[in-house]
């Protein structure tokens, strides 16, 4: 293949990937509802977006659930990974197999399975059930990112600390924790982004007027074109760009956080 052909192919693919996003961004500043005719620059859709109580409450729930669920799953997953790293044999394999289920199962199956449980036990669908669902699907990713760090850890280090008179808790904080920190941070960020991005599982496990941004976008989009969504997309895309920029700067300075999109790791 000639260089020229390769370059045009890359150009074509990137146009395909970015054109829709560019269209959303450009027409979010359009004065009319149209997405084919430009009728002048305006910020009216942004103004309407910020007056939409439903979107604002969805934003609040999205962030609250992402923060709480990723904190809980990071703590629970890290402790579980520690225990698992000390185990061996069939039981460990079984636990890891169960751990893989939410990763391998289609989201819709995880969603209806959790919904069945909540409805069967009479738990009212809402904030708590959505939170529990998010903890359930993100903890496996935390375990998968922390477990390898425990494997790299030499057991002599802990023994040495204990021999020198450290209490187990002190040894954990001063010897083990610094070593596994990169895994914990990656796990936390994965849990956080998975939670922010989730639609399908949240859709089945929430109720009572509690919704996140994805659910709100879904119900708006089903009613047709809404220019407010364009404005929301633009803001979310810029936020992501900014976050990635900051994270990359941090990791260049040697913090060592590599941050692939969790979806890409799924089932790998």
């Amino acid at each position: 293949m000639s260089r020229w052909l390769q370059k045009s192919y890359l150009f074509l693919i990137f146009t395909f990937l970015y054109a829709p996003i560019a269209v959303l961004i450009v027409f979010s500043f359009n004065d009319s509802k149209s997405t084919s005719n430009w009728s002048g620059f305006s910020l009216r859709w942004y103004a309407e977006l910020f007056q939409d109580d439903k979107i604002l409450s969805a934003l609040y729930y999205t962030l609250a659930i992402a923060l709480i669920s990723s904190l809980i799953s990071t703590v629970m997953g890290t402790f579980a990974a520690f225990g698992l790293s000390q185990m061996r044999g069939r039981f460990k394999g079984f636990v890891l197999g169960v751990n893989n289920l939410p990763i391998l199962n289609p989201d819709i199956v995880t969603g209806i399975a959790l919904m069945s449980l909540f409805v069967f036990t009479g738990t009212r669908l809402g904030f708590m059930t959505m939170l529990m669902a998010h903890i359930t699907f993100s903890t496996p990713y935390v375990i998968l990112s922390v477990l390898p760090k425990f494997k790299q850890l030499s057991s002599e280090m802990l023994d040495a600390a204990l021999d020198l008179g450290a209490t187990p808790w002190y040894a954990f904080r001063k010897v083990i924790l610094p070593e596994i920190m990169p895994g914990i941070i990656t796990g936390f960020l994965m849990a956080f982004t998975l939670s922010i991005d989730d639609f399908v599982i949240s859709f089945f496990t929430t109720g009572g007027g509690v919704s996140n941004l994805s659910i709100e976008i879904y119900s708006m989009a089903r009613r047709g074109i809404k220019p407010e969504i364009n404005a929301l997309s633009t803001l979310m895309f810029l936020t992501v760009l900014l976050l990635l920029f900051v994270i990359n700067r941090r990791s260049e300075k040697g913090a060592g956080v590599v941050l692939p999109k969790p979806d890409t790791l799924e089932r790998m």
Partner: protein, 274 residues
């Protein structure tokens, strides 16, 4: 003692919220509420053999297969071109492939509605050269486009990863031994990259066969897939017995396809999904 204690909360959690719910889905698929209380029944599965529903399953598998093949055909050359770039350009290309995936999945799908719509951008462009508006939205083609758009990176990344880790000397050896470029690709590069292809195929096929979002947004009410069927049973028809049966069939379908793909990837080197 310490290790038991630290795993205990998650063991309990995963039992109650991973194992129990899945057992319940299996239970709902086999038990229905009869006149005299709950009873064992295969009705959900029998109902699914109705041609009406088998057609839905067939269409889901067919569209998912088409999108998988399209992603492979578009994605493999892309991964090869990317693997041939300088390391700095490789990083840029990687970032550009991954970046759209950081945007909300629903927004990425929604983005095509204003482009493909009757009064959308594409029809607007066509009008300027005198072509009457086409029906581009709310059909199978639109759903297929949405799938390829959303899942292409899932195919490119694993193949790219395998290609850059590949031992260059093997390819050089083949060239030294007189194989032409097509021969090298067919006999060396492709077989060695198979693990990446296998995991790419899995990562595209699985979300494609179980989605209801893409078909809802880009297919309108015209394209009904297995995901839509399950969703309707649980949220609007309230036939949980039937909904659970379809879910069990879907899980079985995915398990079988994983098993078949696992056999293809005999050496199991590189990327695996188990």
């Amino acid at each position: 003692m310490l290790k038991r204690l630290s795993t205990a909360p998650y063991l309990l959690w995963s039992f109650l919220l991973i194992v129990v719910p899945l057992v319940m889905v299996l239970g709902y698929s086999l038990i229905r509420t009869g006149p005299g209380g709950p009873e064992f029944s295969l009705n959900g599965f029998i109902k699914f053999t109705d041609p009406l529903y088998l057609k839905v399953l067939g269409l889901s598998v067919w569209i998912a297969l088409q999108s998988t093949v399209l992603c492979l055909v578009i994605g493999y050359p892309l991964a090869m071109i990317m693997a041939g770039l300088k390391p700095s350009a490789q990083r840029t290309a990687m970032t550009m492939i991954v970046l759209p995936m950081w945007m909300n999945f629903l927004l990425r799908t929604y983005a095509w509605i204003p482009i493909l719509g009757r009064n959308g951008l594409l029809n607007g462009l066509l009008a300027t050269i005198g072509i009457p508006p086409l029906n581009l939205l709310f059909n199978e083609g639109a759903v297929l486009l949405g799938m390829v758009y959303n899942f292409l990176p899932f195919m490119v990344l694993p193949i790219f990863t395998v290609l850059i880790r590949m031992d260059r000397s093997v390819i050089e050896a083949a060239q030294d031994l007189g194989a032409n470029r097509l021969h090298v690709f067919w006999r060396v590069t492709l077989p060695l990259s198979l693990p990446g292809v296998v995991s790419g195929v899995m990562m595209v096929f699985m979300p494609a066969v179980s989605t209801f979002v893409i078909s809802d947004l880009l297919g309108g009410s015209q394209v009904n897939l297995v995901g839509n069927l399950i969703k309707d049973q649980f949220l609007s028809v309230y036939d949980w017995n039937f909904g659970a049966s379809i879910s069990v069939v879907l899980m079985a379908l995915i398990l079988v396809s994983m098993w078949i793909l696992g056999k293809t990837d005999k050496n199991g080197s590189g990327v695996s999904f188990f």
